[in-house]
Each structure stands twice: as C-alpha cells, then as structure tokens.
C-alpha cells in the first residue's frame, strides 16, 4: 500500500523518480541474505569464539606469560592492535562528522559504512587494554568509583586518560551512528513485513518525517557532528600520549600527537576503501557510490601518507640532531637492528606504495586502490609495531635489552578480533541500509 503511494507520487516528478530509484537500490541490497552469506557470518562467528574468547580464556587461566612479553618489552602486539584499531576507527568519524561540517558531498556515499566501521573498530580496540592486563578480573579498578577501600585512580596516568578517551569515543560514535540511521529505519520499515517491521519501527522511534522532526533532527545531527569532530583529534592524541608521556627513547617526543592523528586518518581511509570497494561490487551500489568519491578518498589517503612519511624522516633527523645517544641508538636499531624488516616494510607500505596515486588513472582504478589500501593497512599495523616494540626492546640500559616475538596466543587473539570485525560488518551490510538513503536523496535536485 505504501508502495503504491510512493509510486504514484513518484510518477508525478522525475526527481522523485530518481529518489525512489536510490531508495530501491539501497533497499534491494538488503534483500534476503543467501546461504553463502550465512556461511561467512558463521565462519567468522566461530573464529571469534575460538580464536579470541578461547585463547583469552586460556591466557586468563594460565597467565599473561603465554604471550611473548618479557622484561624490557612489557607491551606486545596487544597494544599494537589496540592502537591499530583505534586508528581504523578514526576515519569513520572524520568522514561522517568533519566532512559533514564541511558540507563535502562525497561523504554521503561512505559515511554510513564508515560510521559502522568506527563503532565496530572501537569495540575491537576496547577489548585489547583488557586482554593485555595481567589481572583482568580487577579491570574495574581502572574506573574511578567510590569504594569501601577509600581508594581512587591516578589521573596523572595516561592509561587513565585512555579509559575516558575510549569510552567517550565509543559512546559518541554509537549515538552518532544511530541518530544517522533513524530516518532510514523509517524508510526500511516501509519495505518490510512481520516481526522485522516491528523491530524497524521501534528503532525508527516513530519517525514520520514531519517538518518539525526534520528541523530538530538536523539540529541534533549538526550538534553531534560538532561534538564528534574534536574527538577525531583528541582521542588519538590521548592514545599517542600513552607513549609520548613515557620516558622511553623513541616514545618521548612531541610530534607524536599530530603524527598519530595523521596516521589514524590514513589507516582509516585505507580500511574504508578495503571495505567499500568489495561492498560496492557485491551489493551493486555503483550508482550510489560513484567513482569520483573513491578518488577523493584516495586523495585524502595520499595526503596523509605524505604527512606520515614526513614524520618518519623527521624523527630520524631529530634523533640524530639531538646528539642523544639513547635517542639515536633506538633509531639506528630500528633501521639496522633485529626489527629492520618490520621497519623497512612499514616505510615501503606507507611511503612508497601510495605514491602512484598521484596518477589520476590509478586513483580511479578501483582494483589498484583496493591493493594499495591493503598494503596501507599492513603498513600501519607495522608502524605501530615498530613504534611500540622496538623502542622498548632497546632502552637505556644495554644489559636489559631484549627481543620480543609474538607467540601463539597473541596471534590467535589478533585473528579473533579480525573475525569479530568482519562478522559485525557483514551483519551491518545486510541488516542496515549501507548508504544514508535520505542524504543521497537530498543530493537529487
């Protein structure tokens, strides 16, 4: 019945016709999932259960020592992954919030996917600080709450800042994500029947699209965007301070905050591409995700890649210039020492690989973009590895130097998080409109 109503109204105006087309396209991407889809979801779900939950359980029972951490290197790839995922999360907020404030059009194609990615990635990131704790069953001590012990937490500690940064970030991005979805839920509702219809209608909070609702909605959305934007800078700066606040040579530098933020956006864009390019293909969203928008994304990536590259070089310069034996020692070791492969791998992936994007043809070539994005993801992971591990491995006292290799449980948990990430994203892709329908419609004149 609604169908007909829409149809007739559409028949009247061609613009309405276009809008309807968009609507249909996005909705059709949500039609009944096939067997393959469920198989994939199941696969990832089991992966999550076995690799992450299972391994973590064993680690809690046996002790953190199952990992590869040792005396100089107290933080293994758990923290690497933590920073990596927080980084991924960033572009979500960037694309949706910042670009929204800048009124840049191309965001509409990605923002939904990006936001979803943000939420999921923050979840992944949030797990790691817990996983890496020696006594996770006392993790609640990290939160300041009145207790019979009359104890308080140490607000001087960067880790404490982290607790707040991450939780804030999760809250904001979830709210932002959901608010963005409300009108679309209302649309999706119209196309569904039975129980799911009920669910969607509840989720849409009785959205009817009246003028008043739209006015309030836009106001709220703008406000949230305004709230979220500073987080893009603040959260990852705080994360970078986890390291910059330490006196570990290789960590203790002022360029970390901007350097990390740029890196975060860089990796975030890469991950968006990695996710959206296949999605576009599979769910046939060619019209709602035009190639130009991918190109714009590629440009952002190229730009940030160069910022990061600059940071890499300047670090060396500073270390050399400082004449500080510890500082320069660590950088020499990065380039030539035990971890040189990781280091040069990082340089290759993050500095060299993106360079061809200067060529317009390649920017517009989705296959090329996809490969590049994969490389960048790997490169950014390596960057975190290099920053965290190598610095700790070669600190002040030579007697206490050591080498770290990740061990079974750590790898397994890492795989587990990726399973979790893809599982969640698959669910998102089928059960929520992957593109902001209403905004797309607005584009139509």
């Amino acid at each position: 019945m609604e169908h007909k109503a829409v149809a007739t109204s559409a028949a009247a105006h061609p613009a309405a016709m276009k809008r309807l087309a968009i609507e249909r396209e996005v909705i059709s991407a949500m039609q009944k999932p096939g067997l393959l889809y469920w198989a994939l979801v199941g696969l990832f779900a089991t992966g999550f259960a076995v690799f992450l939950l299972g391994a973590w359980g064993i680690q809690i029972a046996k002790g953190i020592g199952l990992g590869g951490q040792l005396n100089p290197v107290g933080w293994g790839i758990y923290i690497v992954n933590f920073v990596f995922w927080v980084g991924i999360a960033h572009s979500g907020t960037l694309i949706s919030a910042v670009l929204f404030l800048f009124r840049s059009k191309f965001r509409a194609s990605f923002n939904r996917a990006a936001e979803a990615m943000t939420v999921i990635a923050v979840m992944c990131a949030g797990m790691y600080p817990l996983i890496h704790l020696g006594r996770v069953w006392y993790a609640f001590w990290l939160f300041p709450y009145p207790n019979q012990r009359l104890l308080w937490t140490n607000f001087k500690s960067p880790l404490e800042w982290d607790v707040f940064a991450i939780s804030t970030y999760l809250t904001i991005s979830v709210v932002f994500f959901y608010v963005g979805l409300i009108p679309d839920f209302a649309i999706v509702k119209r196309y569904t029947r039975g129980v799911s219809r009920h669910i969607y209608s509840v989720l849409s909070l009785g959205w009817v699209g009246s003028k008043r609702q739209w006015r309030n909605y836009n106001m709220l959305y703008a406000l949230l965007a305004g709230l979220a934007t500073p987080l893009v800078l603040s959260v990852h700066s705080v994360v970078s301070w986890d390291f910059a606040m330490g006196i570990v040579p290789g960590w203790h530098t002022t360029i970390f905050a901007p350097y990390f933020v740029a890196g975060a956006i860089f990796s975030g864009c890469a991950m968006v591409l990695t996710l959206c390019i296949p999605m576009r293909k599979i769910q046939r969203l060619e019209n709602v995700m035009p190639i130009e928008h991918f190109e714009k994304l590629a440009k952002t990536m190229l730009f940030t890649s160069m910022i990061v590259g600059y940071a890499y070089t300047i670090e060396f310069l500073l270390a050399y210039y400082s004449g500080n034996v510890y500082e320069f020692g660590i950088f020499k070791d990065r380039a030539t020492g035990y971890y040189k492969f990781q280091y040069w791998g990082m340089v290759f992936c993050n500095m060299i690989v993106p360079l061809p994007l200067f060529i317009k043809k390649l920017r517009r070539n989705l296959k090329w973009l996809f490969v590049t994005s994969i490389f960048v993801n790997i490169g950014m992971w390596l960057e975190r590895f290099v920053i965290i591990i190598t610095s700790l491995a070669h600190e002040y006292v030579p007697y206490a130097w050591g080498t770290y290799q990740p061990r079974g449980v750590e790898i397994s948990i890492m795989i587990g998080t990726f399973c979790f990430f893809f599982m969640m994203f698959l669910l998102f892709a089928k059960f929520l409109p992957v593109v902001a329908i209403t905004e797309k419609k607005e584009e139509v004149q």
């Binding site: 207790n147 019979q148 012990r149 009359l150």
Partner: protein
C-alpha cells in the same frame, strides 16, 4: 494454552528468585557463621563472667605481631583443678594427656591474596581495644567474626586515630 505458559513463566520467575535468595543466604550462612570448635570454649565465661584479661591467655598479643593461642599447658594450669567434672574439660584433659595440641578452628582469617601485615603488638601498644575489631568477645559463647575486616574498616579507623595511612604500613 497461553494461560498455562504464562502461569509456568510466572512461577518459574518467582521460584528462581527464591532459589537465588536461598543460595545467597546459604553462602553467607556458611561464610560467617561461628565455626564449631573441638572444645566448646566460651569467651563469655572466661572473659565475661570471670573477667579474665585478654592478655592473660593471648599473652603474646602485646609482644609479637601474633596474638598467640594459649598453650594447652596454660589451659591445664587452671583446669587441672577447676570444673574437672565437665565433659568439655575432660576433652581438654584428654588432649593434654595425649600430648596433642587442640586443633582450634580459625575464626578470623585474613584472606590469602591480600598481602597485608598486621601486628597485634603495635595496635595494643597504641591502645587499641581488642573488642573494636573482634566484636564483644565478653558476650560471645561461640566466637564469630563480627567486623568485616575489609580494607575500608582498617583505613577509616586509621584515619580516625591519625594512624599512618601509607600503604606500606600494612601492605607488602
């Protein structure tokens, strides 16, 4: 049909609640109930009625960090003559004759994992009252743990009496 489902659901819910409370209660019941001692020794009689001083039996409380359980010999020093006809005292005499120590049940146990050091000596030297922590022993026929002995309990008393609250004072 619906009716039956609803009824059983309601019943299930309440039943669950009852079971939970029972479990809770049971847990606490076992947790803090006064343990059954091998000899029904009454503090009410000795500390209360006879008004024996705590240090009379727990004689190392003011000398060592350990309050000291009175030696069987000490019990016998009086009970070789006093109330020898009572069955409980005869139990005691039996232990003494078998040259076995009395296996008292612990009442106040500081839990294993909490890495604290507590010195009875220092607290008595500071003029702390035994019963402030151990409850009104003069009134207990069967000793039980009255105070939680949690950290908050210690800290607030330390603060109240301007005792040091540096972690290392107790923790190690």
């Amino acid at each position: 049909m619906i009716k039956r489902i609803v009824d059983s659901a309601v019943f299930g819910y309440f039943a669950l609640m009852m079971v939970l409370i029972l479990l809770l209660g049971f847990r606490w019941h076992t947790h803090r109930k006064a343990p059954v001692q091998p000899i029904a020794f009454s503090h009410a009689t000795h500390a209360g009625k006879l008004n024996l001083q705590c240090l009379f039996c727990h004689d190392t409380a003011d000398k060592s960090y350990y309050a000291g359980v009175p030696s069987v010999q000490k019990c016998m020093s009086c009970h070789q003559a006093v109330k020898t006809e009572m069955p409980e005292i005869q139990k005691l005499t039996k232990y003494w004759n078998d040259k076995e120590p009395v296996p008292w049940e612990r009442v106040h146990r500081i839990r294993i994992r909490n890495h604290v050091y507590f010195s009875h000596k220092r607290h008595i030297a500071a003029g702390a009252d035994c019963e402030h922590c151990h409850g009104a022993l003069r009134a207990m026929t069967q000793v039980r743990q009255v105070k939680s002995m949690k950290m908050g309990f210690c800290v607030s008393c330390h603060e109240a009496n301007h005792a040091p609250t540096d972690c290392l004072i107790c923790h190690m």
